[in-house]
Structures are given as structure tokens and as C-alpha cells.
């Protein structure tokens, strides 16, 4: 088979496979159970040392997880569930809120990333592009 044919076939296969992968990514909606797990890992088990209710085997954690499961079943949004629990137990979020003091926690890495990238670009010889 000539090289050009080979390349063409390879390209077609690549596109088809990429299509399947993208399709898998698009239809991969989280199930209710995934949502419960994801929420569970964001909520601190109030009686443990820094463990989430999804990780902790304690009964207390299981009870809260069951509550989360119920509310997900009833169609509450993630934010509704977390803020409901936050009113009951202070400092229950393992996932710090995007506001107040903890805003800094989220912004610092972004600033570092942007600053580093800017520095890298500035240190590059731009004359090359013009030439």
C-alpha cells in the first residue's frame, strides 16, 4: 500500500476513535450515586479528624451521607445541600467557599500560574517570530 493511502486510513481511524472518546466524555453525565459521592467528599465528618463523610466509616458520617442521598433524590442542587448542612454544623465544608477569607486560597494559585506564564513568555526571544 502506498504511504499516502496508509496515512489517509490512519487519519480516518484517528478521527473515528476521537469521535468515540468525545462521545463517551459528552454522554458521561454523573449519575445520582456519583453526585452523592462527590458531595460526600466535600463535607467534613463532624466527629472525625479531617475526614470527609464519604471517607469516614463512622455511623455519624453514614447518617449524613444518607441525608445527602435523600436530598439528591428529591432534586436539591449541590449548593442547596451544602449550605443547608453548613447552617447546621459550622465549618463543615472541606471545600472552602469561594468568598471571604478563603477566596484568597483560590486566587493565590491562579495568580501564581498567570504570573509564571507571563514571565516565561517575556523571557522568550520574540525577534524570532518577526524574522
Amino acid at each position: 500500500m502506498p504511504e499516502r493511502m496508509k496515512r489517509a486510513i490512519a487519519s480516518v481511524i484517528t478521527v473515528v476513535l476521537a469521535g468515540i472518546v468525545v462521545w463517551g466524555l459528552v454522554i458521561g453525565e454523573p449519575s445520582e450515586q456519583d453526585r452523592v459521592q462527590a458531595l460526600g467528599s466535600r463535607i467534613r465528618c463532624p466527629v472525625c479528624q479531617g475526614e470527609s463523610i464519604a471517607d469516614s466509616p463512622s455511623t455519624y458520617a453514614r447518617d449524613i451521607l444518607t441525608f445527602v442521598e435523600e436530598k439528591v433524590g428529591e432534586g436539591w442542587t449541590d449548593e442547596e445541600i451544602v449550605s443547608y448542612l453548613e447552617q447546621r454544623f459550622a465549618g463543615i465544608r472541606l471545600d472552602p467557599a469561594f468568598s471571604g477569607t478563603t477566596l484568597l486560597l483560590w486566587l493565590l494559585p491562579i495568580v501564581a500560574l498567570a504570573g509564571g506564564a507571563a514571565l516565561a513568555v517575556r523571557r522568550t526571544n520574540r525577534s524570532n517570530g518577526i524574522r
Binding site: 476513535l17 472518546v21 479531617g50 486560597l105 494559585p109 522568550t124 524570532n128
Partner: protein
Amino acid sequence: MIGWFGLGAIGIALGGALLLIWRGAPALIGRESVPVGRLRVPVLALLGGAIAAMVAIEFGLLTDDFSLAYVANNHRIGTPLTFTIASGWAALEGSIVLWGLVLAVFTFTVFRQAEGAESDDLAVGALAVLGMISVFFFGLMATVANPFEVCVQAGDVGCQAAGWAPWSVAHAPLNGRGANPLLQNHILMAIHPPMLYVGYVGLSVPFAFAIASLGGVHRGSAWLIRTRRWTLTAWSFLTTGIVLGAWWSYAVLGWGGYWAWDPVENASFIPWLLATAFIHSAVVQARRGVLQAWNYVLVIGTFAATILGTFLTRSGVIASVHSFTQSAIGPALLGFLAIVLVGSLVLFTMRLHLVASAPRLDSLVSREGMFLLNNLLLAVFAFVVLVGTLFPLLVEAFQGSTVGVGRPFFDRWAVPLSFALILAMGIGPVTPYRVARPVVVWDRIRIPLLLALASAALLVLFITRNGHMIVMTLLSTFVIAVIVHHLWQLADRQARSRSGTRRHAVLRLAQGDPGYWGGQIAHIGIAVLALGIAASANLVTSSTIGLAPGESARFAGYELVYQAPFTRQEPNRTVIGALIEVRRDGERIAVLEPRLNQYTGSLTAIQTPAIHSTFMGDLYISPTRLDASGVTADVWAYPMQWMIWLGGLLAAAGAGFSLLAIRRSRDSQVLTRA
């Protein structure tokens, strides 16, 4: 008696370290040249003292000498030999002694390497810096972390009060308190800390050379090329140490996981990330002369991170910021960290104008550009982990309120950063230096991309549609395929031009450039590790089972039959366990013994999981309650968990393979070919 000996040994090491600084200082500050031979006596004193101190602790432990407070509080009669020896570094004071010993050994190896040369002021300066670090650690041992304190008031078990002075009158208890049961529960606890320490301490060598290079104004890249072997050795051990720590957490703690973004884990991960960045950026500096200033900053940051890690794990600050001043070691480490950071950065700023102004990069689309991307991602990753670890401490200290920063925060950053890093890991090593023409790169990744897409498509069609899993499969297989394909292409070309088989060509290539191919082995390891992490996080199933004797439960394709409880008396513990038969398709495949281990002298039992590992995955049973009525256990099924351990160890082995390059070429051109 042994107290006198031990404290004397620490004194000798301390004296050696001070003399090392005194004699090396003129070279360190660049005033006058110092012959290497003049450092022989202080280096040997440091090494000899350090060895003797470690031996003294072990001697005290092995002879059950409870007149030493350390032995009384960390050992008891009847502890198995391995754990008795490991007790020598299982608690604070002993761990500092081990640290000092490793540091002394590394100092000695630096001396040995320099010894042959008539004058080697860079190494002499570096030895003086190592002397300074030694003064701090042996100083700790002589003051606030004295492992040879005498027990002056015995408790029922263990020591109630200790006196610093070796001439205090000893009141030894009849028996000791014994080591923390968690540390006695698995052999890994004996190996993991020394591994980490070799990793941590090894990183002081490139740091010391960097400071000596700045101090004595040694231009160029000698400091970084010469210390390559220590950097790689340290990285390899650090990697192994972290993997073993995760393994220990998985096999012993029984919580069903291996990594919790716990501050103690983060403390080892931050230096690892920075050391990884340094290993890469050192290659570009040696090869292309760029990033000279950045490498100084990076190596200073890496060393500071190892001290910060020690501070976090050893000061008690994690339990609460308010507990850490209870021992003077916390403030001492914090002070040392401040001195290291301020001192190094001031020196760096003073000498910055002498650091060669690096040539600018020709293009970001080049190997250099990929290295830069790698460094940016790794540095930001380290920064994220640092901020996430320190933030709750700072908020508690300044505002008095508690903020939880846990897995979700770290995962939110770690996942995209890892994706980007692994993608760069696939493309970077096949991108040419200077200016990379996209068509050249495309030609090298075209077929691997096809293979990666094929495996991801198979995953989508037959196994899972979990998004993270799909992306990670795509990236990991891509990395591995690019490396194998690149090796294959090169071997093919060689086999054609020089006669010989492809197999010979592959061997010749690997031996011809172990620096590069060692790196590629490490990359494959990291790709396997990352895939294992993704699989374990996204495809795990878990449940809780409660069974009376004779009952059975179904879980993840297994049938678990609770046969009977059992009790076993061992020298240092009582084991209460459950015999659980594991069946698959009606056939018995294993009998597992999840246990509760009750250690003598400890109040609560340690839940110890039982794990059945196969190629397809792990079945993990951790008991939470065990009594006459039955057993309650948490069960997990992890797919292909072995990939995490294998990948991690492969990465460490890759760094080991790279070391071959150094042995062969005697340091000279090691990096320039990488």
C-alpha cells in the same frame, strides 16, 4: 553510661561540624582557597560522632535500658527485633539522630568525591554549608531533642520525667511504654522513614553547592552538574519513601485509602514536586545555559520545603497551632527555616548580577519550552499544596476560626495540573531543542496518538464512561506509546544503518544515553501511577457488611462467607480476627483474616485490614466491630490497585537507571546529552 557515650558522640559530631565551617569558610565566602585535605578531620569527626550516636540509641533499645527516657517511652520488653531497631527512629529525638546520620554520610560522600582534586573550592564551600546544616541538627540533639535524656522519675510504665544531664540520677521504670501501636503494625514503618530521610537530606547537597557557588562566585553550571548524582539519588529515595508511605497507609490504617492530602503527606509531596522540577530544569541549564537564576531559586525552595516538611511533621503544629510551642523543637525548626530562606535569598539577591544573564529562549515551541511548562506546572502544583496545607494553620493562628481545606480543594487543582503535566510528559521528550518544527513533533506522536485513542475508545465502549478515567487513559497510554514508539523508531534506524538486530540496537541506545532513557522509564512509571490513581479514585466500589458466623454477603462479584472468629496470642499483641472466605463463581479463592490488633500497653485496638490482591484488583476488608454476635466490616473493591505501587517504584527505578550515566562519565558530560 550509654547516656554519657551518646551525648559525647553528639558533642564530637557537633565539634566536627563547627570545625568544618571554620576551615571551609574562607573558600565559602570566596576569600582564599582551602585545600580539600584540611577538611578530613572535621568530616570524619562528624561522621564518626553521628554513627556512634545512632549506635548508642540502638544499644539502649536492644539492651532494654530504661534509664534512658527515650527507650522507656518508645520501647518495651518483648517487642520483636525489627520493631525494636526501628524504634531508634520512630519517635522525635531518634528521628533527628537518623537525620543527622544521613546528613553526615552525605557530607562524607561529598568529601570523598572532592578529595582527589588538589583544590576544589566549590566542594569545600559546599562542605562548609553542610557543616552549618549539621550544626543545627546536632545542636537540636544536644539541647531540645536530646535522645539521651535520663529518666529521673519512673512511671508504672514509661518515664514520667526526664533530666537533660547525663549525670542525673536515673530511676528506670521496670518496663517501657512501647512504640505507637500504629507504627508497630507493619514492617513498612521500619523502612519508610529512612527512605524519606535519605530523600530529604540528599537534597541538602545540591542546596549546599548552590550556596557555595553563589558565595564563592563560581560561575556556570558546575554546582548543578556535579550534584546530579545526589539529586537523582535523593529523588529516587523520596519517591520510594512516599510510595511506601502510601502503601503503609493503605495496608495498615484500614480506612480504605492510601492518600488523604493529610498535612504530613503534603509535607513530603511539596519537596518531591520541587525536586522533580529541579531535575528537569537542571537538564536545560546544563544543556542550553538557560534558567540559571531560576535554578538557584528552585534548589533553595526545595531545601526550604524539606525543612518545612520536617517542621510540619515534627512540631505538633498540625494537631493544633496551639500545641506546637509545647516543645521547643517547633520554634527551633521554624527559626532555622527562616534563617535558611532569608540567608539564601539575601545571598542570591546580592550575587544576582554575577549570575550569567541567560540567553533567551529561541521559541516556546521547543524542548526548552516544554521544560519551562513542566517547571511552571510543577511549581504551581507545589504552591497549591503549600497554600492548602498552611492556610488552615494561618487562619487558625490569626483569626482563631477553623477552615477545612481537604481533598476537594486539592483534587480540584491536582486533577487538571496532572492532566497537563502528563500531556507535557508525552510531547516534551520528543520535541527537538531550540525551535521545534511542528511537523517533526507530529511525526513522532502520530502513531502513539492513534494507539492512545484506540485504548480510550475501548474503555468508553466496554468499561466506563467516567470522564476523568477516559482522559487519564488517553494521556497515560499516549505517554507510554510515545516513549516506546520513539525508542522503536531510533532502533529501527540504527539497525538499518549499522547491521545488527533491533534488540541490540535498543540495548545500545539505552546504554548510550542512560540519562535520557532513565528519565523515560520514570515517565512510564508516573503514567502507570497516574492511571492507577485515576482507576482507584473513579472505579472503586465500597459497602458495609454485617455478618453472623456462617452468613454470607455478596459484594462486587465476590461472595464473602464469615466462617468463624479467632484469637491469637503473639509476643507483643493479642489478635482478634475474623476468618472470611472469599468465593468467586462458587469457588473459593481466598480466606482473609481482617483483625483487630490489641497491643500490650495500649488502650484501643488497631483495626487491621485484610487485602486480597489480584491483577484485576484488590478486595479490601477492614473490620470495625468484632464480637460474639458477628463481624461488621467496611469493604472496598479497587480495580488494578497494583498500578499505583508498581508505577511509583518504576519511577524511582528510572532515576536509579539515570545514575548509571553518571558513574560512567565521571560527572563531566552527564547532563549535556540528556
